[in-house]
Symmetry: C2
Subunit: 453 residues, 2 copies
């Protein structure tokens, strides 16, 4: 039997298994779900063993565990290391989901669940492709698999894990599965991602909540102060107003700007999908340039005071905000955190005390050379799979592991995944197309075949 | 037996009953507590019957019920109507309470519980004073009692209730128990309160939460927009920046400013109590002038995006804020709401849609004449009880019922209560001094005696 028939024969079972995987709420950010994260890891390791991998195990880290599997029966043949993650984003506000986030539901050719697109669907597609090759005796490369449980909290334990297991993870190619395609019909070759850094801050006013009837207008209200401080982070033209923020950012070269112009973009279609009336961003740049070529600073959460139903006449003791920045090449995450912190300190309004908490070490941006042999193989497979060559571009998101893998293992990871940008990742009603799931299985099987040569 | 001995003899039992009353979480703002609100009303009506009132009942309104009690055995004698409320503020964030908010705990002569000071302690003090007079045969006025369950949500049903029961509520004096004293040793005669109006608004950007890595810097982030909009509500000198906000506000007269100067105020002591390093408010006014003579606009809650532990890289679909304004004489609550709404509309940033919700009808400020006979009686009682005459002033908070009672029942309510301003009302660890509880019982008994003449 060839691998295609194998996949076709087991399609229904494989979908059921995908649903089982999705039903485990492996939310790495929330301590209450630590046991679910462990359960997802155990399920996945067991499933890799069942796929025919010679070994698969759950390995401890300082945080959530890593799933490591290998099947390396071909001495002299190349070794491919697959990277992915089995943790998912939180699914707060379940009332904003049309179906429960951890009860996967198939509607109109889409499977709706937290983690469906980001990225349990991709991990399953790779696993099933490898299984099909192993079970039909058509595998011709050595396989290693590294699937972490902390990607959604910026992989705090992974660098240490990789450093401690460099030999184990030695390979000729690295595939990063946490990636996507441009549309259902147009493939994409991702040549880079932006970096990231994150921080959180508190503004503390009175030592306890005060009655706003008595004390309003007499003490600084931390909510007024945080509004003023957050408003100071951007200038009216959409630029980040933090001093020094753009210092290391190189202007986009004319060649790059020409290259960006070739990426298809339908503004009206995008507005409709996002549900916005207008776009708003740094003046003088196209959407793709803003998304991948320019850095950003975004407030991801802000809160303070009474947020329940009705009225509560309170001046809260404190107010809080969470911030992430996306970075382009040459920006150093630690330096950017220091600049943002300095801005907050310099602009902190009277009458409140500032406390800044750095929430993750951060990661620099990552770029790879388009002539890398892994990229060439990916390009050929995508061209065959979609009937058109892939659009080559960068991504706006961050995959901190890419720079980590490159730094620690010495070669460039090739991004090869099947998510699409409308799949509401990090948002209610996340979904994954079943057509992408099928393309993914086939794509990985073809890529592993191609890398064996 | 005289009423003093009666109160002394039953002191321990009365404290136990106060604890029982406090243990009912009668939070009017939260629908989940509607049954608790009803339970508190039933408990209170039953307790008034037991005190010796000829009748006491729970009467329905469009919202939470009213407790009405009466004992009018003296034709030809004056009738005193007591006003209070049995509902309490929410007690969210129980982790910020040293003891559970609805498990009243006595520590160092203070009873700690939500509603202890605002105002179940005051209601109990009045009830027990009336009971002592009735049970010792020393009552000489007619009593009517009106205790509502919606004060903390701005009394939406009370005006309708009063209008429907004007005859029942006819009286010669009205006592408003929702008031306080200046300190443990200095009494206060409250001659007025500020008005209030409240609104809430949403800023809505994309139709769903977006990944901030992909879409950050391309669409307006509702959190950035709300920061900008909230920051626009005040100018750097602490004034409200809403056009027209001060139009009807009369300058403080030289006489009034002289009068304000006589009110004792220890700035260092106040800073220490509030836990602030500095005061911050409208320039050119003293603390008491700011608190009672000038209007304010305060944000009581603001929220949007991810507020849980860790990082979530999201651009939220929407952001929200709750606002209340405190008003001085001549400001019209409806007009102020309209002005704030117009400001929000005029200053709404690009890329988000504004929706304003008016949360309550509002109430104008209330002032009464210091030569009112009820005020004179209160002054005499307070002078006797504290050994010094009361400081005569206004309050910064709002008791919308005062203007309602005056408008619907035709005469001025006299404020006579025993709360102190450091008792953390509307805040975690609210408490009431047991010494104030005792003073309250005696004060009400003395006042009822005085009003009988």
């Amino acid at each position: 039997m060839n691998w295609k028939d194998y996949l076709a024969q087991h399609q229904a079972t494989h979908l059921e298994e995908f649903r089982t995987f999705l039903s485990i709420p492996s939310i790495s950010a929330q301590p209450a779900h630590a046991e679910d994260v462990r359960r997802a890891a155990a399920w996945l390791a067991e499933r890799f063993r069942r796929a025919g991998f010679a070994q698969a195990q759950v390995m401890p880290t300082a945080g959530h565990p890593v799933v490591y599997a290998e099947h390396t029966p071909f001495p002299g043949k190349p070794t491919v290391l697959y990277y992915g993650h089995y943790d998912v984003q939180p699914a707060d506000n379940p009332e904003r989901w049309d179906t429960p986030p951890f009860q996967p539901t198939v509607v109109d050719g889409r499977i709706v669940a937290r983690g469906a697109s980001d990225m349990k669907g991709q991990v399953m597609a790779f696993l099933l492709a490898a299984e099909a090759l192993i079970q039909t005796g058509t595998l011709a490369v050595n396989l290693k698999v590294l699937i972490e449980g902390e990607e959604e909290i910026s992989s705090p334990s992974l660098p240490g894990f990789i450093q401690a297991h460099r030999e184990l993870l030695r390979s000729d190619y690295i595939i990063n599965g946490d990636s996507g395609q441009l549309s259902e019909t147009t493939p994409l070759l991702a040549l880079g991602v932006r970096g990231i850094c994150a921080l959180e801050f508190d503004l503390v006013g009175p030592s306890h909540d005060l009655h706003s009837g008595t004390w309003g207008g007499q003490v600084q209200n931390p909510l007024h102060a945080i509004a003023e401080l957050v408003a100071s982070l951007h200038s009216p033209d959409g630029r980040v107003a933090v001093a020094g923020f753009y210092d290391e950012v190189e202007p986009l070269s004319p060649t790059l700007r020409e290259w960006y112009k070739k990426i298809p973009w339908d503004e009206e279609e995008a507005k409709r999908k996002l549900g916005v009336d207008e776009f708003f961003g740094e003046e003088g740049y196209t959407p793709w340039e803003r998304m991948t070529g320019r850095p950003t600073l975004e407030v991801n959460g802000m809160w303070g005071g009474y947020t329940g139903p009705g009225t509560m006449t309170v001046i809260p003791s404190s107010a809080h905000a969470k911030i992430t920045c996306r970075l382009v090449p040459h920006q150093n995450p630690e330096k950017i955190v220091a600049l943002v912190k300095a801005h907050l300190e310099a602009h902190c309004p009277k009458g409140v005390r500032l406390a800044v908490h750095v929430r993750e070490a951060g990661a620099p941006a990552f770029r790879m050379a388009p002539d890398h042999p892994g990229c060439q193989a990916a390009k050929e497979v995508l061209t065959e799979l979609y009937g058109v060559p892939p659009v080559e571009t960068m991504f706006g998101g961050s995959v901190p592991i890419l720079s980590t893998l490159k730094a620690l293992l010495g070669h460039d990871p090739v991004s090869f995944g099947f998510g699409l940008e409308d799949e509401r990742i990090h948002s209610p009603n996340e979904f994954f197309r079943l057509s992408s799931f099928e393309k993914g299985k086939q794509g990985y099987a073809m890529l592993l075949g191609r890398l064996a040569r």
